[in-house]
């Protein structure tokens, strides 16, 4: 039985006191223990940013990759060994800016990994420039006259990319995000969880208080049906994206099962690599 202690790493995160990412770290560890996943079977991939440092702060197979590419690396890990639990985490700049392309394609490909974005509407590590989720008019170091661009909606983007599990939470509610992460890991397919994770140093607008006051809880809406894609789209529209809970979920065949001749086979990482004489003969036949 894995315990929280097993998941702890004796390194103090270099995050600012109060940074939302602490809660996300705690929630991932708690979810893994609740699901009784052994740490050696848990791979945490992360991108580059303050949030990206997360993979070094728990004792698993942690991989800190490149800015924007962690999702692609994570898919490679899962394709090689589907017995591993693969979680990928990073910032909004990492996931929707420089890595936006991989986000869309991972969603439609539907590989069984969980993708957590710590969305602080700003670039933290590079000290406060605007991000793809910064609203129009937002004042940052790189938009001193106000952001001239409109933000993207991560949830609507995930919906249109055909993601099979979409949820959103807020760092101020660890219990809730722990539950979302557990559901995401259990979901067989690509699970996207956007977590509002305040940057207390560079973002003075989207603060803990802001989210406490403005976020709509889906649990309070008995009419909400998370299998209805249109309803999901509308809900995000109506709340301007400030909504938490399970937004959408639909079982869809996972990518590995969809690959020809792959379903039910031994993991790639467990294959016997030496070919028999017959196998060699078959490989060459076409060219004789």
């Amino acid at each position: 039985m894995a315990t929280l202690h097993d998941y702890r790493m004796d390194i103090t995160p270099n995050w600012c006191p109060g940074c939302g990412d602490f809660s996300v770290l705690a929630a991932i560890q708690k979810a893994a223990v609740n699901l009784n996943i052994e740490p050696e079977n848990f791979v945490l991939q992360s991108g580059i940013g303050c949030s990206g440092r997360i993979s070094g702060y728990l004792n698993v197979y942690g991989m800190h990759t490149m800015h924007g590419r962690s999702l692609a690396v994570a898919q490679g890990v899962k394709l090689a060994n589907r017995d591993l639990t693969v979680v990928c985490a990073g910032g909004d700049g990492d996931g929707f800016g420089i890595g936006g392309n991989h986000f869309v394609h991972a969603a439609r490909r539907n590989i069984d990994i969980t993708y957590i974005v710590m969305d602080n509407q700003i670039y933290g590590l590079t000290k406060g420039q605007m991000s793809p989720t910064s609203p129009k008019g937002f004042l940052t170091k790189s938009s001193p006259e106000g952001n001239p661009e409109s933000p993207i909606s991560p949830l609507q983007l995930a919906l249109s990319a055909n993601a099979s599990f979409i949820a959103q939470g807020f760092s101020g509610d660890i219990k809730h995000i722990t539950s979302l992460i557990e559901q995401g890991i259990r979901h067989k397919g690509f699970a996207f969880i956007n977590i509002f994770s305040p940057c207390v140093t560079f973002n003075k607008v989207f603060t803990y208080d802001f989210f406490k006051q403005n976020i709509v809880n889906l649990d309070d809406d008995p009419q909400y049906d998370s299998t209805d894609r249109t309803m999901a789209f509308d809900k995000v529209e109506q709340t301007d994206g400030f909504v938490k809970g399970l937004i959408y979920r639909k079982e869809r065949m996972d990518f590995v099962d969809a690959l020809p001749g792959r379903s039910g086979k031994e993991n790639l990482s467990n294959q016997d690599l030496q070919l028999s004489a017959d196998q060699v003969q078959n490989l060459l036949q076409r060219y004789m």
């Binding site: 050696e40 197979y61 942690g62 899962k78 394709l79 392309n101 020809p260 294959q271 004789m288």
Partner: protein, 581 residues
């Protein structure tokens, strides 16, 4: 009549007309008759329309490059004649299709014969114009005095999927071409008969790379389509599932190499294949693989650059990108096959090196090597000798006994190599990052650690074995030394043979590993040489500069460069040499 030990023909027409199938069938049948073949395809970026041609060289002895001179041109368009008639030998023959070639609009040079051959009409009579290619096969076979029998099997294999009726029709087309030529003229270029051979393959460098990957234990491939590397993705998508593997087409090259790093980290032999712009996109990830000591294999089928450059033309200009590409300094190994056989065997080698030295390994192919087809002798391949060496891995028992909570994946060792633990291994957990890190993989900016880790990674390459890192051919004490890498091997070899025939003391070093450079092995020959000519297909002399960096041969080194997109020919090399000596 002169019996020939070697003949060449060119088939040319509009792209998309199936020109290559003429070469394919001729090659298959003649290969079974015991001849050695080299097939070079000259194509453009257009899919349909636009001229393309296929050069087939047929020899009694092994051939490693396209011939400069043809005995025969089979012309389905004007360009086939206009562009290539000067390459015909005196007494050479052009058989053209009067349906598509208006011969009175072309000035045919003296000493050659052009004959209208109604390929299309004959094919139409037999039921389908498409079979004009098969009529051409029959004509070529008669001209080279080849028995028509062996073509039966080749045609059958090509068309078997389409049913017996189609096979019969195509065979009839071959016969018709054969008969018609015999009525027209004598057997003009009879090929010397060849005794039965051992088992052989006829395949392209890209085919060989794909096969070599599977033989070498590759079980994951990720790629993004690009000329001339796409064949490798397409081949492996078909092949890998039969051996428990997977190939996926990604959204871009950034994703391709990132997935490969993930799969390599998770313990699978993984590769990508790309060219030109793809290699540029992969630069950052090469550094990540180097810094995280992750084994990956990257095939670069070099083509004309920079930018989109000349996508369908040969160039060998990615040397710098492969050897030093990425920011900072990251270890890697670069192999450079020069024949189809080597392309196949370098793949298992690349995977072994990648896992042994825990770094990216490049296989530097180029457009001509990747797309040309060559005869490959099974006896030379010795595939049964291929060994899989997975490098240093930490054993479960060792981990079980360890008192550490975090495995020291990057502990400093004498040879720089640390045993890997693979996700799933109990107590093997550790961190991996492109940030400079200490033994457990956690970030560290400590100056001493930085030096220790950088040196550790660099030290690994000092142990890479240098046997087979060059190949040498020619007389032992050569005064004139030719040096090259990649697909120019055949042209350099032929140039050397010609010059030796004229009495020159010529030798040839072909560099088979570009990084780490086998400087000591090369020096053995450069020391004795008076004149060193480095032959390469780029404009700045990348190999020449690399050699100068490692060996002091500045005064006697002469770069022989070609960067017009056309494969260098033996006579270009010999005339360069003659001017120098």
């Amino acid at each position: 009549m002169n019996i020939k030990s070697e003949v060449s023909c060119l088939v040319g027409g509009m792209q998309g007309e199936g020109i290559e199938s003429v070469g394919e069938i001729l090659a298959k049948a003649l290969g079974r008759n015991g001849y050695y073949l080299f097939g070079y395809r000259n194509f453009s970026s257009r899919i349909k329309g636009g001229h393309s041609d296929f050069h087939l060289r047929i020899g009694k002895d092994p051939v490693y490059n396209a011939s400069e001179r043809f005995e025969l041109i089979l012309a389905f368009d004007h360009e086939s004649i206009e562009l290539h008639q000067r390459s015909l030998i005196d007494g050479g023959v052009i058989l053209f299709d009067p349906k598509t070639v208006k011969i009175d609009q072309i000035t045919i040079r003296g000493g050659i014969q052009s004959i209208a051959f109604p390929f299309s009409d004959m094919a139409a009579e037999l039921g389908s114009k498409q079979m004009k290619n098969m009529v051409a096969v029959g004509a070529a076979c008669a001209l080279f005095d080849q028995p028509i029998g062996v073509f039966g099997d080749a045609v059958r294999e090509q068309f078997a999927k389409k049913g017996e009726a189609i096979v019969e029709k195509n065979m009839a087309a071959v016969k018709k071409g054969h008969e018609f030529l015999q009525e027209l003229m004598d057997t003009r270029f009879p090929l010397e008969k060849q005794p039965q051979s051992g088992q052989r393959l006829f395949l392209s460098g890209n085919d060989a790379i794909s096969i070599g990957a599977v033989l070498g234990g590759c079980r994951f491939m990720a790629g993004y389509p690009i000329t001339p590397a796409s064949d490798i993705l397409e081949n492996l998508v078909q092949m890998l599932p039969n051996y428990g593997g997977v190939a996926v087409q990604t959204e871009d090259e950034l994703a391709a190499i990132a997935m490969v790093i993930g799969a390599g980290y998770a313990g699978t032999r993984a590769m990508t294949a790309t060219a030109g712009p793809g290699i540029s996109l992969m630069q950052e990830a090469i550094g990540l693989a180097g810094a995280t000591e992750t084994p990956i294999v990257i095939v670069d089928t070099q083509r004309g650059g920079p930018s989109s450059g000349m996508a369908t033309k040969i160039e060998q200009s990615d040397l710098h990108a492969m050897i030093t590409g990425t920011h900072g300094e990251a270890p890697r190994i670069v192999l450079a096959p020069s024949t189809v056989e080597e392309a196949m065997l370098d793949m298992p080698k690349a995977f072994n090196l990648a896992e042994k030295y825990q770094c990216p390994v490049f296989v530097a192919s180029d457009l001509v090597l990747s797309t040309s087809k060559q005869t490959c002798e099974m006896a030379n391949l010795q595939l049964e000798d291929i060994q899989i060496d997975r490098g240093k891995r930490v054993a479960e028992t060792e981990l079980a006994m360890s008192g550490d909570r975090v495995y020291k994946r990057f502990a400093i060792t004498d040879d720089g190599i640390t045993a890997r633990s693979i996700p799933g291994q109990k107590k093997g957990m550790h961190h991996v990052t492109g940030i400079e890190h200490g033994p457990t993989g956690h970030p560290s900016e400590n100056p001493a650690n930085r030096v220790a880790q950088m040196s550790k990674r660099a030290r690994k390459l000092q142990c890479v074995p240098m046997n087979d890192a060059i190949k040498y051919e020619g007389i032992p004490q050569a005064e004139v030394l030719l040096i090259g890498f990649g697909s120019t091997y055949g042209a350099i070899r032929e140039a050397r043979l010609w010059m030796q025939k004229e009495g020159a003391a010529v030798g040839h070093v072909h560099v088979r590993m570009l990084h780490p450079l086998p400087a000591a092995e090369i020096s053995q020959y450069t020391e004795k040489a008076k004149t060193i000519i480095v032959v390469e297909q780029n404009s700045t002399g990348q190999l020449a500069n690399l050699l100068k960096q490692h060996i002091s041969i500045h005064a006697k080194l002469h770069p022989c460069l070609k960067f017009d997109g056309v494969p260098i020919s033996p006579s270009e090399i010999t005339s360069f040499c003659r001017e120098l000596i």
